[in-house]
């Protein structure tokens, strides 16, 4: 089964969108989700903690030790996540688990990649899933197997890596150290990745909460963490339902994907109803009734005799029946 570990720093508004959209689109219960969060003195997660009491909240004291503890108490597979992600489409996590249980050549299952993105590598389709060899993929995200924003990995594998890298002291390092090790072949993992046909989430790059890794973000609107915190405290929410089913071409989206609202109305679940054929008249009740009448008495007789037939004789009957 699956546990979710989501990293958050100073982004209650975005984290709430992560929690709401994940539980809505995946059906996963909040009790499966752990949030490892860090907060500045002026930003509090108390409101969120009260609103989502079933989530396992862990305030960061030592990132590495806290994460290792969460990983060790997780189920066999872990969805790693970040608060700047929100989900845009339904998915069944069991599909990812089936792939990872069945196929040891898979390293992970991405929820952010899919055929909707640019620069596709050579893809193999397996029903609603696509698979590719990340070691041979030429471009960006397709050749980047280890990422901590929206991918599912085997718990054992995450734990094995984490115990050997005490220098993983924040989520960015946790990702970058292994990404570099894989790029230079210092770490060797299974050669393939899988995802759904369509990506299930977006990474909203409208602010940055650390300066060690200068990831680009769109600061064209008033979306720094303090401004969003004030808005959240005033009751505003990230309007993730308005991006239901978005056909994004890139993973990291800019401020044009940033919308706020006063209340969340989850998108309706669309229903397709297809009539395939008219009912056939196959049931001959009269004939069947006669057979049922016959069988009733045969079965009654058999059941009445059953306790009186010696076990050895029953064994012989069964042998004869099997031979027949």
């Amino acid at each position: 089964m699956l546990s979710v570990i989501c990293f958050s720093k100073d982004r209650p508004l975005q984290l709430e969108a992560y929690l709401q959209s994940l539980t809505w689109y995946s059906g996963l219960r909040p009790s499966l989700i752990s949030v490892l969060y860090a907060d500045s003195p002026e930003i509090s997660y108390d409101n969120l903690r009260q609103r989502y009491p079933d989530v396992n909240w862990r305030r960061e004291s030592s990132f590495h030790a806290d994460l290792l503890d969460l990983v060790r108490t997780s189920r066999d597979h872990i969805l790693l996540g970040c608060d700047d992600v929100f989900f845009t489409d339904h998915f069944d996590a069991n599909v990812a688990l089936e792939q990872l249980v069945n196929d040891p050549t898979l390293f992970g299952f991405s929820l952010r990649l899919g055929l909707n993105l640019h620069s596709l590598p050579d893809i193999t389709r397996r029903g609603e899933v696509i698979v590719w060899d990340w070691t041979r993929a030429a471009f960006g995200h397709w050749s980047y197997p280890w990422e901590v924003s929206a991918s599912i990995y085997r718990r054992k594998d995450v734990e094995r890596y984490l115990v050997t890298t005490p220098e993983s002291t924040n989520p960015n390092r946790f990702e970058a150290i292994r990404a570099q090790a894989l790029e230079t072949s210092r770490d060797v993992v299974a050669p393939r990745l899988a995802s759904f046909i369509r990506g299930k989430c977006l990474t909203l790059t409208v602010n940055r909460v650390q300066d060690e890794f200068p990831n680009e973000f769109d600061d064209s609107r008033d979306t720094d963490v303090q401004a969003l915190y004030r808005a959240h405290q005033a009751g505003r929410q990230l309007d993730w339902p308005s991006f239901n089913g978005t056909q994004n071409k890139v993973i990291h989206v800019d401020a044009s994907y940033f919308r706020m609202c006063d209340a969340i109305a989850p998108p309706p679940v669309e229903l397709e109803d297809v009539i395939i054929q008219a009912p056939a008249v196959w049931l001959d009740h009269r004939q069947l009734r006669f057979k049922v009448f016959f069988w009733r008495y045969v079965v009654k007789l058999k059941e009445a005799m059953r306790p009186h037939i010696p076990r050895k004789l029953m064994r012989l009957f069964r042998k004869i029946l099997r031979m027949g």
Binding site: M1, L32, D273, V274, L283, R318
Partner: protein, 304 residues
């Protein structure tokens, strides 16, 4: 909708079953275990692990398992003659007109939205929504109408061809389905033994001839898996083949009780043979393991 689980002394499977419901099922009001003889030490641990689950007992206590260990089938039959009476008595108390019925050695392997399924089958006079059926090249289900929700939930209405009584398996199964209560209860009328499925099929025929307007549905693909770590029934048939059910149950149950059993191993598939053999190896003679492997290879492949 309430979810009922029939159980008998396989807590390692029951634990997996309950976890799968919590993981995959939405719209579940209560999980109720109808237990017919799980040993009390295991029930205590289950209650501690799942305090939100209600366990109702048939009153068999520990005695049924003790008799099984002694291979005293005549005594079991004499003292606990009709387990189906217990199931029907409990299910007839169910206040809702629909319930989801599982057995302890099964688990939900896909997302299942009970509220959505229930609303749809109720509207369409559905009496059964099958979540499992045996793998067979000739499907008995002739799909007439197909509903697909964006959240992955599917409801397929089907017709079937019935020339002989066993063809009625197309619209009947003892569990692993959402049932309309009157359909399930009427099919068990007069059934004195769970394995007596012929009487159940005859009852089904009576029911549908009385109520020809009822409809039958299933999920598009199987959404419940049934496991075969140990034989499903405690009957002399298995023991006559050397397959002594209690040996395998005891080995797995004890490892589970000690907290050393991974109930989610290989989920959503069944426990891998390699994992089970690794448990058996420390606890059972090689001959018993060989018999078990032979049974798995020769008889269980039919189902998957």
């Amino acid at each position: 909708m309430n979810v009922y689980i029939k159980s008998f002394n396989r807590p390692f499977y029951l634990d997996r079953c309950i976890r799968s419901i919590k993981f995959n099922v939405r719209g579940c009001d209560r999980i109720i275990v109808l237990d017919d003889g799980t040993q009390s030490q295991y029930l205590r641990k289950l209650e501690a692990l799942h305090p939100d689950v209600e366990i109702r007992s048939s009153g068999a206590g520990d005695r049924k398992v003790e008799m099984l260990r002694a291979e005293n089938f005549a005594a079991i039959q004499a003292e606990f003659p009709v387990s189906s009476d217990f199931w029907t008595a409990e299910l007839s108390k169910e206040p809702d007109s629909y319930f989801f019925l599982l057995e302890d050695d099964a688990w939900v392997s896909q997302r299942l939205d009970l509220a959505m399924v229930r609303a749809n089958i109720e509207q369409n006079s559905g009496v059964i929504f099958k979540c499992w059926w045996p793998d067979s090249p000739a499907s008995p289900h002739n799909v007439l109408r197909s509903l697909r929700a964006a959240n992955g939930q599917s409801v397929d209405y089907y017709d079937f061809k019935a020339e002989k009584v066993t063809d009625l398996y197309a619209i009947w199964i003892v569990a692993f389905a959402i049932f309309r209560r009157d359909y399930w209860l009427s099919s068990f009328a007069g059934v004195k033994r769970m394995a007596d499925e012929h009487t159940q099929l005859c009852n089904v025929q009576d029911f549908i001839s009385r109520q020809p307007q009822v409809r039958f549905a299933k999920s598009a693909v199987r959404s419940v898996y049934q496991g075969w770590a140990v034989p499903g029934r405690s009957t002399p048939e298995y023991y006559d083949k050397g397959l002594r059910q209690h040996l395998y149950m005891d080995a797995l149950n004890d490892v589970w009780l000690a907290g050393a059993f991974n109930v989610a191993e290989s989920f959503p598939y069944d426990f891998s043979d390699a994992y089970l053999v690794s448990v058996f190896r420390d606890r059972l003679p090689a001959e018993s393991i060989a018999i078990w492997q032979n049974w798995k290879t020769r008889e269980i492949r039919y189902f998957y």
